[in-house]
């Protein structure tokens, strides 16, 4: 071979051919049982490492898929359980029969493929395992709760998501214990719930969830866009409550329950049959 065992004579080549042929013929002429055993021994040396590695990787892929499916099932069940509990508490506080108890959507598992941090936005790009009928403003959650919302759909399998940490993010929220409403907005590295009166009952440790109430906001083109998010997605827990003397509203700081600082499966909450699709309104 060039650069290697070059310069072998024709007789040498024939000798190599004869040797290879001889070994092959011996293998061919082995009795059936012995042939299988020899193949087994050779396989352990020649192909077993490859098959072991391949089987391992296949198992890992299968486990990841199974894990994603189980997480989705578990999270769906948890949200449905919370909806049942909420329905009961709504009834106890006389919230009325028209109030949706919460989650009845479908969770579509996705993986995070890109994270973008900019001056005005903190976004992630997600890729779904299968084509989805997703639209802008649909909620994106992880196992713990609300992460953000779809901002731009790139293709049936990819979309950009605006995280809750984006500076102009605002979300209609509800205190689980009291049903009190507010608007969650990020300020710097912290999250505040605004529009909660100074005399309202809010305590440290109160859980906060999405309220399902449409939130309107202005975009640069002057259009008012709104989205009806599903009620009942966990958002955060109250860290501190203050009542400034000169303010009409409480100053409530919330710790978000979900964060996008780990590489894990996220879910797009697609509307269920009765959930009503998120709407984009134009006045």
């Amino acid at each position: 071979m060039r650069g290697g065992p070059a310069g072998i004579s024709q007789r040498g080549e024939l000798a190599v051919l004869a040797l290879c042929s001889l070994v092959s013929m011996i293998l061919i002429l082995l009795p059936g049982e012995a042939r299988i055993q020899v193949a087994d021994r050779l396989g352990r040396v020649l192909t077993a490492p490859y098959w072991s590695a391949r089987n391992f990787l296949d198992d890992v892929a299968a486990l990841r898929g199974e894990n994603t499916r189980l997480r989705k099932e578990l999270f769906s069940l948890e949200l449905e359980t919370a909806a049942v509990v909420r329905e009961r508490s709504d009834r106890q506080r006389g919230a009325g029969c028209a109030l949706a108890e919460g989650f009845n959507g479908v969770l579509a598992p996705c993986r995070v493929v890109t994270r973008r941090r900019g001056r005005f936005a903190t976004m992630i790009r997600i890729s779904s395992m299968e084509p989805l009928p997703w639209k802008s403003w649909q909620p994106v959650v992880n196992r713990d709760g609300m992460l953000g919302r779809i901002r731009t759909v790139i293709s049936p399998t990819e979309a950009w998501v605006e995280l809750m940490t984006a500076p102009d993010f605002a979300l209609g929220v509800e205190f689980v214990r009291t049903g009190l409403l507010g608007v969650l907005q990020p300020r710097g590295a912290r999250f505040f719930i605004e529009m909660v009166g100074r005399d309202e009952d809010v305590r440290r440790g109160d859980l906060v969830m999405t309220s399902g109430i449409t939130e309107h906001r202005e975009d640069p083109s002057g259009l008012s866009k709104g989205v009806t998010a599903l009620r009942g997605i966990p958002v955060g827990k109250v860290r501190s409550v203050q009542v400034p003397n000169d303010e009409v509203f409480k100053e409530i700081v919330v710790d978000p329950v979900a964060a996008c600082d780990r590489n894990e499966t996220v879910f797009v909450v697609l509307p269920g049959a009765a959930a009503g699709e998120p709407t984009v309104e134009q006045p």
Partner: protein
């Protein structure tokens, strides 16, 4: 020594990646290019008879492990094929894709002809049916796919270096 490593790396990667990764993608109704023969042609044209004989033997042996009842058959066929292709190397018009494709087509046909003959002798396999419905399309497909593979080998400087 560097060329020795490059040539071996190239043909082994062609055989392995082609068989494992590319074959399933290119498969059309069960017909896929035979990357083992394509890689053997690459080895024979790049290095000559002796390495092609040894390479063909080990390649065949690995293929045989998937079908232990015919252990040694593909090792023998590929050794002979490697030797023949290596001997042919000096007589080929270099750098002509049509010639290279024809060599691959003939190599696949010879390989399958002998293999199916042996298989039909040990069992009751319909030799002619398999040859015309499987081997001929696979040979043509392999010839087609071999052209870019061999161009790639030329581009890497593995073939026709003396030209």
């Amino acid at each position: 020594m560097r060329d020795f490593l490059r040539i071996n790396l190239f043909w082994m990667l062609t055989a392995f990646c082609g068989g494992v990764l590319i074959d399933p993608v290119l498969e059309i109704r069960g017909i896929a290019p035979d990357f083992s023969v394509i890689s053997l042609v690459v080895l024979a044209l790049a290095a000559g008879s002796y390495p092609a004989t040894v390479g063909g033997f080990f390649l065949g042996l690995v293929l045989d492990l998937a079908n232990p009842s015919l252990l040694g058959t593909q090792a023998l066929i590929n050794s002979l094929l490697g030797y023949g292709l290596g001997r042919l190397r000096e007589r080929l018009a270099h750098g002509m894709p049509l010639v290279e494709a024809t060599v691959v087509i003939l190599a696949v046909l010879v390989h399958d002809l002998v293999f199916l003959l042996v298989r039909s002798a040990t069992g009751d396999e319909p030799f002619l049916l398999l040859f015309f419905t499987r081997s001929v399309p696979v040979a043509l497909y392999s010839g087609l796919v071999a052209v870019p593979v061999l161009r790639l080998a030329v581009w890497f400087g593995l073939l026709y270096r003396e030209d």
